[in-house]
Each structure stands twice: as C-alpha cells, then as structure tokens.
C-alpha cells in the first residue's frame, strides 16, 4: 500500500511540477526572457511526442510479439528527419510564410483555402486520433493498475476506468490552461512546449534506466544479455519484407502527417535553423529510445509468467525485482509519454475543429457576417476549449466502450495508416503545381474510405462493426470486396494490405483528379506560392477596398485578435502608409497582412472568408494571378535593369574618358595655336620695328630708301592686318556665330567673280567648263566665292609646273554638286594630306607669304554651308574637291 500511496504522491508532485514549469515558461516568454525556450534542443525534444505510451510500453510488447519489427516505427521518421533539406524545410517555410495553424489548414490553404478539404482532413484526423488518445488513457490506467495489483491483487475494471477519467480531466485542464492562453494558434505555446520537452527527457531517462537495469541488473552485462536474446523466442530474424517496408513507409508518412507532429514540427517551429539540429539529434533520440527494447522484451519473456501482458514489461520487470523507485520512474516515463501526446494532439485537433468546423458554422448561423455583434474572439476561444474537452473526453468514451482490451493496442498502426492518407495531398501540393482541389478531395476521400473499410472497421474484430459474413464472403457476397482481400489480394498482412490499397488508390485518385480538373484562380495562386515558396516568400496582393471598410475591418479584427493587438496592428499599418490614427488605407498589402494575422487565429479559410465578407470580394481575379507571375518577372526585370544601369554607367565612364582625352587634346591644340599665332604676329612686327627704327635713327637716308623701307612697313602691316582678319574670320566661323547671307545665284557667276578676284597674276591658265556651270544655288555667295578664291589663289601660289594650269570641273554626283579644282603641279605629299586643313599649316618651303589659315577657313565655311572640302589624292596634280548638298540647288529651282 505504501508504494501505491507513494506513486500517487509522486505523480501529483510531478504534475504540479509540470504545471509550474509550463507556467514559468509562459511567463518568461511573455516577459521576453525566454531565449533559451527557443533553442534547437527544445525543438528536438518537443518532436519526441512522436514517442507516445505506445512507444514506451508498446515497443517492448511489439518486440516481444514480432522481434525487431518494432524498429520500423522509428526508422521511418529517422529517414524523414535526415531528409529534412528537401521536405521538412519546405513544409516549415510554408508554414511560417502562410501562418499555417494545422495540417488541415495547410492542405486547405494549398488548395485555394477550401474549407471543405479542411473539414475532411479534420474528420479523418479526429477519427484517427481519438482511439490513439484512448490508447494513452488506457496505458496510464493500466500501468496504475499494475502497481495496485502488486499491492492488493486484482483490481476491478471500475477503478481502472476511474483512473482514466481523472487523467483525462487533468489533461483537459492542463491543455486548456496552457494551450488556449492566446487565440493565435500560430503563436508559440511556450508552456506546453517546455512541458513536453521536459517529459521527453523523463521518458527517455526512464526507458534507459529500465534498460540499464535489465542489462546490468537482471543480466550480467551486454554479452550475457545478447546470449539471453539469442536464447529467447525472438532470437530468429524473421521479418516479413512486406511488413518491414510497409511499416517503415507508413511511419515515415505518419511522422509528416500526424496532427500532433505537424503541430510541434511546423506550427510551433520558431526558427528553420532548428531543423538542422533536429535532423541528427532526433534520430539519435529515437535510437536511444529503441536501444533497450529488445533486451527488455527478451528478459521479460524469460522472467515473467506466461501470459503476462508484454506491453507492461517496462513497468513490471522493476516491480518484480522489487525496485520500486525504478518502477515509479518507469511509471512517470509512461505517464509523460501519454500526457504529452494527449496535450499536443488535443491542441492540434481543437484548432482544426474550431477553425474549420465550429467557426464557419457559427459565422453562418449568426447571419454570415463578421461585423454583427458578438465577440468572435471569445467564441473562438470557447470553441477551442470545448473542442479540447470534447476530444479528450471522446478518447475517454472510446476507451470505456472498447473496454480497454488488447484490441486497443493495435490501434496505433491503424491510426498511422489513417493519417498517412494526407500524404499524397500534402506532398503533392508541396512539389506539384498541377495538384488541384478536386484531385486532393478525390484522393483524400478514396484513401479515407479504403482505410475505413479495410483497416479501421475490421480492427474491432468480426461481428462488432462489420459482420462476420463480410469478412468471409464480402459485402452482398462480392468476394472481391472482402476487407482483408480487396480485389483478390489474398494472403497479405492486413496492415500492409490496407497501406498498399489505400495509398495506391489515394495517390491514383489524387493524380487523375488533378490532371482532369481545372484549378480555380485562388488555387493556382496558392499553388504557385506553396511550390515556389523559396523563390518568393510573400503572398501577392489580392484585395482591394475603400476607406469606409477600414473601420469594419478594425471592428472585426478587435473581436478576433483582441482590442489591443488589433489596434496596434492597425496603427502600425497606418503609420507605414504615412497616415496618423488607427485606420490605414485598405491597400492590398494591408489586407494581405491582416488576413495572415487573422489566419493565425482562426485559420486561413475562415480568415479569408471573413475579410471577403467585409471587402465584398471572395474570388481571385486573373489579375491577381498575373501579379504573382509579375513578381517573379519584376525581380528578373529589376536585375536586368540593374545590369542595364551598370552598362550605362560603364558607357558614361567611357564617354567621360573620351571627353577628357579630347579636352586635353584641345588644350594642347590651343597652346600650340597660341604659340603659332604669336610666332606669326612676331615676324611682321619684327620687320616693321626694324625698318621704322632705321627710318627714325638714320638721317642720311635717300628718298628711294625711305620709300622702300616705308613700303616694306606698309606691306608688313597689311600682312599683319590680313592675318588678324583671317584669325577673326576663323574664330567667328568656328564659334558658329557667323550669319549666312543666303541668296540664289548661278555657280558660273560665282566662279567668274573668284577668277576675277585672283587675276592679278596671269601666269596661271584656268580651264573652265562653262556648260556645266549653269547651276543655280541658294547659298551664301560671298562665302562660297571666298572658298573658290582661296583655292584658285592656292593653285596660283603653289603650282610648281612650268606652265601652271588649273581645271575647274563642276558636275552632279549622287545628287550633290561636286566642283573639282585640279592643277598640273606635283601635288601634295601623302604625309601632309591630314594637315593641310589645319591652322597655320604650310606645306613644304613657302615662296609666298601666308599664315596658313586659308584652307582652315575654307573647311569651316564649307561646314557652315552644309558641304565639305577635301583633298582628292591620286590625281595628276593637287586636286581639291568641293561638295555642296543638292538641297541647296533644289531649293533654287
């Protein structure tokens, strides 16, 4: 009796301790002191709710019945965990980006926020989890009974039921207290998480302690234990390959799909980086948990009386050996496993039930609008609390009705297969954009029905829910529909049979349904965001509304999120938009964020429905889809814009370099020009000064000499004036300030003028083709004549032929007027071709005066007149070509 009392006392202390820890953690997190609460280690430990009482007690029973097969249940999750990089990481990223609250929310969000899907997922989850909760209650009450048994002999069933009821009630209180403290299911339940992390340590330590006791206490070390295993009933490695692979697959699938696993893995996830640690630490945890299972089973089979329930070996071996302390630790381990599972499962399921079943019904019942009176927040919280109580008590009812028999022990695998039906829709939705709501519905329903018929209903035994005749001959005598031999697949293990058919048909229906159906815009929008979550982690704007609605939105949000939180959110958004007060413009960004915040509280489907009631638009338009596509395009466009910009900058830099080079060159040219000008000016100045000094200082100069000197002075000053005139002319021309005196005239007249102006020296014979000269031009005649004069004068000056001849030959070429001035001299050397049009360039030795500005002026004039002047190489003598655009000529006609 002492042990039982001690057990009760220890249990109560343990429970109080858990409450305190949860409370302290919640408080610490609230005050922002809970950094250690968010460590990867806590995350890893919280994942251990995978190991329930079914693991703690059941694994040994499993091993005692079928050897190493129990390992498959832990190998599947191990494989999933080490493959976190491509599966879990994406799941967690989406869960955080979309503020997913449960697996039902996840699947519903992916397929266009369909509430129907969410309801189906919720139903399957409830049906699959309730027996599992019953199993936990059973394990706690059975383990309690085991203690009582050793004290007082047999315990009546009523006492067992009572224990289960107390445990259930305690769990309801704990879960409601710490699981529904805040409405936002997306907010972390620090208290709950820390409590289950603590329980994870307790159950691991308890199992390890029992294992160590069995190996070193009941046996003589490892070698001896191995010998005992070899001598036991489970010595031979006899595992059916189909069960080995089938169970590994199912446990891997269940690990991803179990509502409670989804809750701790995705919803409670604080940081994606925690997965990195969990990827190896959780497999290690699973390995340690299963390490001593076979030794305990083998020794138990040997020591315990025949017919003892192997599920309780973990507890009964220490009890049998009189190790009451160890037995109590073991009991606490089992208690921890059971309670942590129930708490998390209840939170996960209650979120699903309240968000996807109760809230939509309530919203509809209250007139279909969220703005009518009534506190949505309180309703949602109440719905969740009632759901928790309902789910746990449903488990209790299930437990009492099933009588706590061994049938319940098999329910673990049955539940696994049930939740595995989510896998095709979940994974397909994650990686295949073509997956549609219709496909997901078809797959889920098919899988669910097959599971119900092939595994769940028959698991109660013949004659309970399915009559014996259905097992033997199929419904209505249809032999191919027998639950354990569907489509004639006889002789298979019932679980493997159900796994194969349910997942096969589920996947097939999912794929065929997806291929044949056409997704709604909302589905395509969500699909793109799920599948490409790593490319753009943002939801696209899909709302538009007017200012009048902001107030309605605030009223609604206050009811759901609580007044303070909602006002803070609205004020923040208003500030971001540059507005004061609490009413932001209902911009798409704002509505999108609001929807995400609300979906953290009531689930995506409900949040979407509520906002669309106020905004008045539930559907996604094609524009929204385009916006999603645009986002990617925008990113690409932006990057190409950047590229273009940097190219442009490179171009500008290049241009700047060129301009700089040009400026340097110009500066050099200017210096050169100045020195040239000074030189040109100094030469006449020198002679003027010299001769005027002679005239001044020499008194006995004859009149002839006087005449000669003063005429030299006169000539030189004329030359100087001419030079300055030319310079002035050139500078005017170059600066472009010259005004052209445009008029109409005949080319011949201009040539006549030029020839007359240069006729001072008769030595040059000019040959003209007067027939060709009958061309009318509209141009500046004086300037053009100046060019001609210059060319004729040049020929006169530089033609070195004994009988100098100049041919002036006008003609039309390519619609332009071309006038060639060619003499019969020796021409200009090739090397000087580039220089002749430069200022002050004089070729060869000069026999006549000239500053070398003539051709430079000609070039400038021709440029002003829209034509060109160039030196034509390869002729007999020097040939200059003057080209005038035809437009000038046409204008004259």
């Amino acid at each position: 009796m002492a042990t039982l009392k001690l057990l009760i006392a220890v249990s109560i202390v343990y429970v109080v301790f858990l409450f305190c820890v949860a409370f302290a953690a919640d408080r610490a997190a609230r005050q922002g002191r809970g950094a250690w609460l968010r460590s990867p280690l806590i995350y890893t430990l919280s994942l251990s709710i995978y190991c329930t009482a079914w693991t703690f007690y059941g694994a040994v029973g499993f091993a005692a019945r079928s050897g190493l097969e129990y390992l498959t249940i832990y190998l599947g999750p191990t494989l999933v965990m080490i493959g976190w990089w491509w599966s879990l990481r994406k799941l967690v990223r989406i869960g955080r980006a979309q503020r997913i609250t449960s697996i039902a929310d996840m699947i519903s969000s992916r397929y266009g926020k369909s509430n129907l899907l969410a309801v189906i997922v919720t139903l399957i989850a409830v049906i699959g989890t309730t027996p599992y909760i019953a199993l936990q209650l059973q394990s706690v009450s059975l383990s309690f009974a085991a203690f009582a048994e050793t004290e007082r002999g047999l315990v009546d069933a009523g006492a067992v039921q009572d224990t289960a009821l107390y445990v259930a009630l305690g769990l309801v209180v704990f879960t409601i207290l710490f699981g529904t403290r805040n409405l936002d299911a997306n907010e972390r339940h620090h208290g709950v998480v820390i409590a289950i992390a603590l329980e994870a340590i307790v159950k691991l330590l308890a199992l390890l302690a029992v294992g160590v006791f069995v190996v070193w206490g009941l046996s003589d070390g490892i070698v001896h234990t191995l010998e005992r295993i070899d001598a036991s009933q489970i010595a031979d490695w006899e595992v059916s390959p189909s069960r080995w692979t089938g169970l590994t697959l199912v446990s891997a699938a269940a690990f991803l799909c179990l509502p409670r696993m989804f809750q701790v893995m995705v919803v409670e996830n604080e940081d994606e980086g925690h997965l990195r640690t969990a990827s190896w630490a959780f497999p290690v945890y699973l390995m340690l948990i299963s390490l001593f299972v076979v030794p305990i089973a083998a020794v138990g089979l040997e020591v315990m009386p025949t017919g003892a329930n192997p599920d309780l070996f973990v507890l009964k071996l220490p009890l049998l050996a009189g190790q009451e302390g160890l037995a109590i630790l073991s009991f606490l381990g089992g208690f921890s496993s059971a309670t942590s599972m129930v708490v998390v499962a209840a939170i996960a399921l209650s979120t699903m039930v309240s968000n996807h079943i109760v809230m939509p019904i309530w919203l509809r019942a209250t007139g279909g609008t969220a703005t009518i009176s009534g506190d949505v927040r309180q309703v949602a919280l109440l719905a969740r609390r009632l759901s928790i109580a309902g789910i746990v008590l449903l488990g209790y009812v299930y437990f009492s009705l099933s009588g706590g028999g061994t049938a319940l022990a098999a329910i673990g695998l049955v539940a696994f297969v049930g939740v595995s039906q989510f896998l095709p829709a979940l994974m397909g939705g994650l990686f295949w954009r073509g997956a549609t709501r219709t496909g997901a519905l078809a797959g889920l329903c098919t899988g669910f029905v097959v599971w119900l018929y092939c595994l769940f209903l028959p698991s109660f035994g013949p004659g309970v829910l399915l009559p014996q005749s259905v097992f033997d001959a199929g419904p209505l005598g249809l032999g191919w529909l027998r639950p354990y031999a569907l489509f004639g697949a006889e002789g298979m293990d019932s679980v493997v049979h159900a796994v194969m058919w349910s997942l096969l048909l589920n996947t097939a229906a999912f794929i065929i349904g997806s291929i044949l159906s056409f997704p709604s815009p909302m589905e395509r929008l969500q699909g793109a965001q799920f599948v490409n979550v790593f490319e753009h982690s943002r939801t696209a704007g899909s709302w538009s509304g007017g200012m009048a609605q902001s107030e309605d939105l605030l009223i609604m949000s206050q009811r759901i999120m609580g007044a303070r939180e909602a006002q803070a959110l609205f004020a923040d958004m208003a500030r971001r938009q540059g507005l004061s007060g609490y009413l932001p413009e209902p911009s798409p960004e704002f509505l999108e964020r609001l929807e995400r915040e609300l979906s953290g509280s009531v689930g995506a489907a409900t949040a979407h429905a509520m906002i669309s009631q106020i905004i008045g638009r539930a559907a996604v338009s094609v524009e929204d889809l385009l916006a999603v596509a645009d986002e990617t395009a925008q990113i690409m466009e932006y990057s190409s814009q950047l590229e273009a910009k940097s190219e442009e900058q490179a171009r500008t830099a290049r241009q700047l370099r060129e301009a700089n080079k040009l400026l340097t060159q110009l500066s050099l040219q200017k210096d050169e020009f100045l020195s040239q000008v000074s030189h040109e000016l100094r030469t006449p100045m020198t002679s003027i000064r010299a001769f005027s000094e002679i005239l001044r200082d020499t008194s006995e100069l004859g009149p002839e000499a006087q005449q000669k000197y003063s005429s030299i002075i006169h000539d030189e000053s004329r030359r100087l004036t001419r030079l300055l005139d030319d310079l002035l002319d050139l500078s005017v021309l170059e600066s472009g300030k010259v005004t052209l005196n445009t008029q109409s005239g005949r080319l011949g007249d201009m040539l006549d003028r030029a020839v007359a102006a240069t006729s001072g020296d008769p030595g040059l014979h000019i040959i003209r083709e007067t027939a060709q000269e009958d061309v009318w031009l509209t141009t500046d005649h004086d300037r053009l004549a100046q060019v001609f004069i210059n060319l004729i004068a040049n020929a006169r000056k530089y033609c070195d032929a004994p009988e100098p001849r100049l041919t002036i030959q006008p003609r039309m070429q390519d619609g332009r007027l071309v006038v060639d001035f060619s003499d019969n001299g020796s021409g200009i050397a090739m090397a000087d071709h580039g220089l002749i049009f430069e200022k002050f360039s004089r070729i060869g030795e000069t026999k006549t005066s000239g500053a070398g500005l003539g051709l430079a002026i000609c070039r400038e004039i021709m440029a002003r007149l829209g034509g060109t002047i160039s030196y034509l190489p390869g002729q007999k003598g020097a040939t200059f070509r003057v080209v005038l655009p035809v437009e000038t000529r046409l204008a004259a006609q």
Binding site: G67, L68, L71, L75, T78, L79, V80, M81, I82, G83, W84, W85, W86, R89, L226, I229, D230, I234, A235, D236, W237, E238, V239, P241, W244, T245, T248, D271, E272, G273, L275, R276, T277, S279, W280, P283, V284, L286, M287, L291, V294, F534, E535, H536, S537, R538, R576, E589, R593, I635, M636, Y638, S639, L642, E643
Partner: protein
Amino acid sequence: MKPAKSVFLERRSYRRRRMGDAAVLLPLFGTVLLLIPLLWQSAEGGARTTDVMLYIFGVWALLAGLARLVSGYLEVGPAAGTEEGVVEPSHEGPG
C-alpha cells in the same frame, strides 16, 4: 537583386550546393542500408536477431552522424544570404 546565374560558383557555395545534394541523397542511402537485412533471411538458418540489431543500430548511428556532418554545411533561413535571402529585405522596404 538576384545576380544572373553564373556557370561557375566559388568554392564555398559550390561545396554548399553539393552538400545540399548529399542531404537529398542521404535518406535514399539510409533506405538502401535498412533494406539490406531483408536479404539475410533466405540464407540457411537465417540471421540472428542480435546480429541484425547490432547492424541496424550501427547504421542508425552512422546516418545520424552523416546527417550532422552534412547539415553543418547547409545554410537555413532567409537571413542565410542565399538567393532567397537577398530578395527578402527589398520586399520589406516598401511594405
């Protein structure tokens, strides 16, 4: 924003990508290793539970070790400076 995909990566990001490949292949590798004991049954007399147990726990430890090794090279989360990481802040800005 997102730099044009270059054909060659620098050593570190190259190593990270290959470790990403390794992380994807690791579960396949583990599956194969865990299926191997199924072949031992057909042998005359069959394998003993203890042998298989030691093998599987060995593989388990190996897989956990490899997972730790590989995950040490992988960068997680939006702040990790991977391609999606760079995109993030610019979205926050105007929002």
